[in-house]
C-alpha cells in the first residue's frame, strides 16, 4: 500500500513537472516526456498487465491536461507499456544503453500513435512532424531516462524499489 501511494505521489509530481517545467527545457523545439520516463522505469521489469495498467493510468493523467484528445495518451501509453513489459524484460540485455534504446523506440511508437490521432490519420502532417519533432524528443527523453535510471541505481534499494523492482 505504501509502495502504491509512493507511485501515485511520484506520478503526480512528474505530471506537475511535465505541465510546468518541461516547456522551459526544450531543445531545438523538442521537449522530453517525463511521464514516458516514469512509465519505462516502472514497468521495465514487470509483467505486461502491470505495464498496460500503468501505461493507461499515466496516459490518462496526461490526457487530463488536454481534454480535446482525452484517451489519446492513455491508448498510446497502454500499448507502449505493454510492449516495454512484454519485450523489455525477456529480450533486452541488462545494459543501460539498451534500456536507453528501448526508451527511444518506445517514444517513437508513442509519437506515431499520438500523431496519427492528433492529425486524424493524415500522413501529410504525420511524417513531417515525426521527423521534425518526434525523433529529437525521443532522443531527449531516452537521454533523460538513462540519467534517471543511473541515479535510481545509485540510491539505496529500499528507497526506490519493491521486490527487486523499481
Amino acid at each position: 500500500m505504501t509502495y502504491l501511494l509512493r507511485i501515485v505521489f511520484a506520478a503526480l509530481v512528474v505530471f506537475i513537472l511535465q505541465i510546468t517545467v518541461v516547456h522551459n527545457v526544450t531543445a531545438a523545439g523538442a521537449s522530453p516526456d517525463l511521464i514516458m520516463v516514469m512509465l519505462v522505469v516502472l514497468v521495465i521489469d514487470r509483467n505486461p498487465i502491470a505495464g498496460i495498467i500503468a501505461g493507461f493510468l499515466l496516459g490518462f493523467l496526461q490526457d487530463l491536461g488536454n481534454a480535446s484528445f482525452l484517451g489519446m495518451n492513455a491508448l498510446a501509453k497502454s500499448i507502449v507499456g505493454y510492449g516495454i513489459a512484454r519485450y523489455g524484460r525477456d529480450y533486452l540485455p541488462d545494459n543501460i544503453l539498451f534500456k536507453g534504446l528501448l526508451v527511444f523506440v518506445a517514444c517513437l511508437i508513442h509519437d506515431i500513435i499520438t500523431l496519427h490521432i492528433a492529425t486524424l490519420f493524415d500522413p501529410a502532417e504525420v511524417i513531417p512532424a515525426f521527423f521534425r519533432y518526434s525523433i529529437l524528443s525521443a532522443a531527449y527523453t531516452a537521454l533523460l531516462a538513462v540519467l534517471v535510471m543511473q541515479i535510481i541505481d545509485i540510491l539505496p534499494r529500499r528507497m526506490v524499489r519493491s521486490g527487486g523492482r523499481y
Binding site: 503526480l12 509483467n47 505486461p48 498487465i49 498496460i52 495498467i53 501505461g55 493507461f56 496516459g59 490526457d63 487530463l64 481534454a67 480535446s68 484528445f69 482525452l70 484517451g71 489519446m72 492513455a74 491508448l75 497502454s78 500499448i79 505493454y82 512484454r86 490521432i117
Partner: protein, 294 residues
C-alpha cells in the same frame, strides 16, 4: 464460460490490452463537451487537496506580511495584557481594602508605600502621609490582611513605619480559638515565633493569631499570622510556636494607618509609654550623675 476462459485464462494480457485500447477509443470518440466536463470533474477531484492547500497558502509574500503584522500585534497585546493585569491586581487589592474598611470599627488612612529601607536587619517603609495629614508616632499600620507595623517617625508629608519583622518589635497576641496569650517576635523572613506560651497551653497548627490589645499599643483583634507548628520542649516549661505572618511584609504597596476609632485613640498609649520610658531613662541618668558627683 468458454469465452471467459479464453479471455481471462489463456489470453489475459491481450484481453487487458484490448480493454485499455477500447476504453481509450471510447474516450476519444466522445463529444467535445462531454470530454471537457469529464476532465473538469476528474481534475477537480484529483487536485482538490492541492487547491485547498493553494487557497490556504495564497503566497509566501502574503504569509510573510501577515507574520510581520501578527508579531507586531503580539508585542502590542503583550504590553496591553501586562497593563491590564496590573489594573486587575490593583482593583482586587482595592476591593479587599474596601471590604476590610467597611467591616471595621476603626478609622483608616490609606497610604502608598513610597520607599523601603535597604537595611537587612532594620525593616521599615516610608509612606506618603505625614504630620500634615494627622499622622502621629505610634499609630498602628495594617495591610489588607492584617497588622504590618507601627509609625515611628513622622515628617511633614511622609512617615516612617517600622515593620513587624524587626528584632526590636514585640507584639502581644491572642490565639483566636483558645485565647492563649503570647508575645510575637520575628525570626527570619516571614517567620515569627510566639513566646511565653506555657507547655500545657492549647495551640495547634492552623490557629489564627490576633492582636490582644493589651497595653493599647495595637488595637485588639487584628489578624497577624497563622500557627504553622507547635511543639513541646521536654526540657523547658514553654512551648515552641511557629507563626507565618499573614501580610507579606516584603511586598507591601498600599497600607492603612489607623488614626482612630471606637474606644481607641491611635498611638496614644504608645506615646504615653514612650514618655514614661524616656522619663525613667532621664531619672536614671540624673541619679547616676548625682552618684558620680558625690
Amino acid at each position: 464460460m468458454q469465452i471467459f476462459s479464453f479471455l481471462f485464462d489463456r489470453h489475459l494480457e491481450k484481453t487487458v490490452l484490448a480493454a485499455a485500447i477500447a476504453l481509450s477509443v471510447f474516450m476519444l470518440t466522445r463529444p467535445e463537451d462531454s470530454k471537457i466536463s469529464a476532465v473538469r470533474s476528474i481534475s477537480s477531484f484529483l487536485l482538490y487537496p492541492v487547491g485547498r492547500a493553494s487557497d490556504y497558502f495564497t503566497s509566501v509574500e502574503e504569509l510573510s506580511a501577515e507574520n510581520d503584522w501578527l508579531r507586531e500585534r503580539v508585542v502590542s497585546l503583550s504590553y496591553e495584557n501586562e497593563r491590564l493585569t496590573q489594573f486587575r491586581d490593583e482593583r482586587n487589592r482595592l476591593r479587599e481594602l474596601l471590604g476590610f474598611r467597611k467591616d471595621s470599627f476603626y478609622e483608616f488612612m490609606p497610604c502608598d508605600v513610597i520607599a523601603r529601607s535597604s537595611s537587612r536587619f532594620h525593616h521599615s517603609i516610608t509612606v506618603d502621609r505625614g504630620a500634615g495629614s494627622g499622622v502621629r508616632p505610634g499609630m498602628p499600620v495594617v495591610g489588607y490582611r492584617g497588622l504590618a507595623g507601627r509609625v515611628t517617625q513622622v515628617f511633614p508629608s511622609s512617615s516612617r513605619v517600622l515593620l513587624l519583622n524587626n528584632k526590636s518589635v514585640s507584639v502581644s497576641c491572642l490565639v483566636k480559638r483558645s485565647r492563649v496569650v503570647g508575645v510575637l517576635a520575628w525570626e527570619r523572613g516571614n517567620r515569627f515565633s510566639l513566646g511565653f506560651v506555657g507547655k500545657e497551653e492549647d495551640v495547634i497548627p492552623g490557629d489564627t493569631l490576633i492582636t490582644s490589645g493589651f497595653g493599647r499599643v495595637f488595637p485588639k483583634g487584628f489578624p497577624i499570622g497563622t500557627v504553622v507548628h507547635s511543639t513541646e520542649e521536654k526540657t523547658e516549661l514553654s512551648r515552641r510556636v511557629g507563626i507565618v505572618c499573614m501580610t507579606d511584609l516584603n511586598k507591601l504597596e498600599e497600607v492603612f494607618i489607623i488614626t482612630g476609632g471606637r474606644d481607641w485613640e491611635g498611638g496614644q498609649a504608645w506615646l504615653e509609654l514612650e514618655k514614661s520610658r524616656r522619663e525613667g531613662e532621664a531619672e536614671q541618668r540624673n541619679k547616676d550623675g548625682e552618684g558620680g558627683e558625690q
